[in-house]
């Protein structure tokens, strides 16, 4: 019980941007180091995987493609939670979190599309097909870009936070569509093979490096996200300080006039 209270206490502490900055400063080096370590192990494991009897060595693209695709959806989910945080709880960091996550999510989605396309060329004989999974991920990419454009179009963060949150939440419909598109429609993209009812269909020799890579990239995401949030807080402080500087410049000469 007391544990739960102290936990919520910690979270409220973190809501204060200054506390967040010191927390991020303390955690980031460790998180970054851990990310590098896990990713290095993951890469080493992926390279040493035996070739697939059908796909040959191209199967190794999977070890980066699948984590990118997972993260593209996870990032949007985090942004949607942050959007709820902005709209319902008015959490001061929620807006920062959503804004910082959008470019990272867009990059991961783009990487998922690019790696998928590189994988698709030898497998399907074409860079791109308009099937349900690919199209819905492309739509996700467009939504990321739309959200980024919207946040950039309004320079007052207080105003843009709400509208962006609403757009983000409306766009969340797309996430289940992406996840289940391979089951609902008959697509060229292979159906889910790792996370499914009745256990994974993937051979353990592939599953293990994939999971390590997934953990590594997830850690990478959180590292980048925390750094981006820190940058955003700093950026807002710089803006606020510049406005103060513009106001203070007025007092300077006025005083001089009085002295004269």
């Amino acid at each position: 019980m007391s544990d739960a209270i102290s936990k919520t206490g910690r979270w409220i502490d973190l809501a204060n941007p200054t506390r967040f900055l010191s927390f991020a400063g303390a955690v980031l080096p460790w998180l970054g180091g851990l990310t590098l370590l896990v990713l290095a192990v993951g890469f080493w494991m992926s390279i040493n995987v035996p070739d697939d009897y059908q796909q040959g060595s191209t199967v190794q693209i999977m070890f980066i493609h699948v984590p990118f695709a997972w993260l593209s959806m996870m990032c949007y989910t985090i942004m949607s939670i942050a959007a709820l945080g902005t709209l319902v709880w008015r959490h001061p960091l929620a807006d920062v979190s959503a804004k910082a996550a959008a470019p990272i999510g867009a990059v991961f989605t783009a990487l998922a599309l690019i790696t998928g396309s590189l994988w698709g060329k030898p497998m399907w004989g074409t860079w791109w097909v308009w099937d349900a999974r690919l199209t819905s991920v492309f739509v996700l990419f467009l939504m990321y870009l739309g959200i980024i454009a919207l946040t950039r179009a309004m320079d007052d963060p207080a105003k843009s936070a709400k509208t962006t949150s609403i757009l983000t939440l409306v766009g969340f419909i797309n996430i289940p569509i992406i996840k289940f598109s391979v089951d609902w429609w008959n697509t060229l993209h292979q159906p889910a093979s790792v996370l499914r009812m009745g256990g994974s269909t993937l051979d353990p020799s592939y599953l293990r490096p994939l999971l390590v890579m997934a953990i590594g990239f997830t850690l990478l995401f959180f590292t980048l996200h925390m750094m981006a949030m820190r940058n955003e807080i700093w950026r807002r402080r710089v803006v606020a300080m510049r406005r103060v500087a513009a106001r203070n410049a007025e007092r300077g000469p006025a005083k001089q006039q009085e002295v004269r």
């Binding site: 791109w128 467009l142 870009l145 454009a149």
Partner: protein, 221 residues
């Protein structure tokens, strides 16, 4: 003049993603085509060049109404017109068009090969389409300058600008698309429509700024 170019480029990049919105619109237009005509890769490959051109045309029209209106709203336009002894007004307009093109249209041209892949086009067709877009889209911006100058004093000129410009931009579309097809389909020539496209651009590089300058001068009040 270099200063004007730099200022407009800087404004386009800094003012909150005018360039980004254009590309986004282009991507979205191309993304809805397969929903409309169905995911038939052969059909998409055949209409790909035309769709890229239509998408680029619409995306180019998107931000054109702000070409002079932003300067009018803050009073810069008056000073640009007053400086016409030092800097010929048509030249000023040409520089503004070039800056607008490099910030909002050039990214579309660069993105077009990627969208060509989405449309399952052949490499030759993708290259030809990107090349024709590179040569042809400046003409759309230059024609657009006339529309933007005519509509500059209207409070809601945006849609009107597109309506005014579209009919004038049709020749650009015709020769752009036929040159793109000429590169892949055998009997159709590539070079002839491509050269005509270049000629249209050069022609409007002269006519557009001059007409826009006259319109801007008379619209000042």
């Amino acid at each position: 003049m270099g200063a004007l170019f730099l200022r407009d480029v800087r404004l386009g990049l800094r003012a909150g993603g005018g360039a980004l919105v254009g590309i986004l619109f282009f991507l979205a237009v191309i993304a809805v085509v397969p929903f409309g005509v169905g995911p038939d890769l052969k059909l998409l490959a055949r209409i790909g060049a035309a769709m890229l051109w239509v998408g680029a045309l619409l995306a180019t029209l998107l931000g054109l109404d702000r070409l002079f209106q932003a300067d009018r709203d803050d009073g810069s336009l008056d000073l640009l017109i007053m400086a016409s002894e030092r800097h010929m007004l048509p030249l000023t307009i040409l520089v503004k068009c070039l800056a607008h093109w490099s910030v909002s249209v050039l990214p579309l041209v660069i993105a077009s090969p990627l969208l060509g892949l989405f449309m399952n086009m052949e490499p030759a067709a993708i290259g030809a389409t990107a090349l024709t877009l590179l040569v042809g889209t400046p003409a759309i911006t230059l024609i657009g300058a006339v529309g933007a100058a005519v509509a500059v004093s209207l409070p809601r000129g945006g849609l009107l600008v597109s309506v005014i410009i579209l009919p004038l931009a049709i020749p650009v579309l015709i020769f752009g698309v036929s040159a793109s097809y000429g590169a892949v389909e055998d009997p159709a020539p590539f070079l002839a429509p491509f050269l005509i496209l270049g000629a249209i651009t050069l022609f409007f590089a002269v006519l557009g700024p001059v007409a826009a300058a006259i319109a801007l001068r008379s619209s000042a009040d």
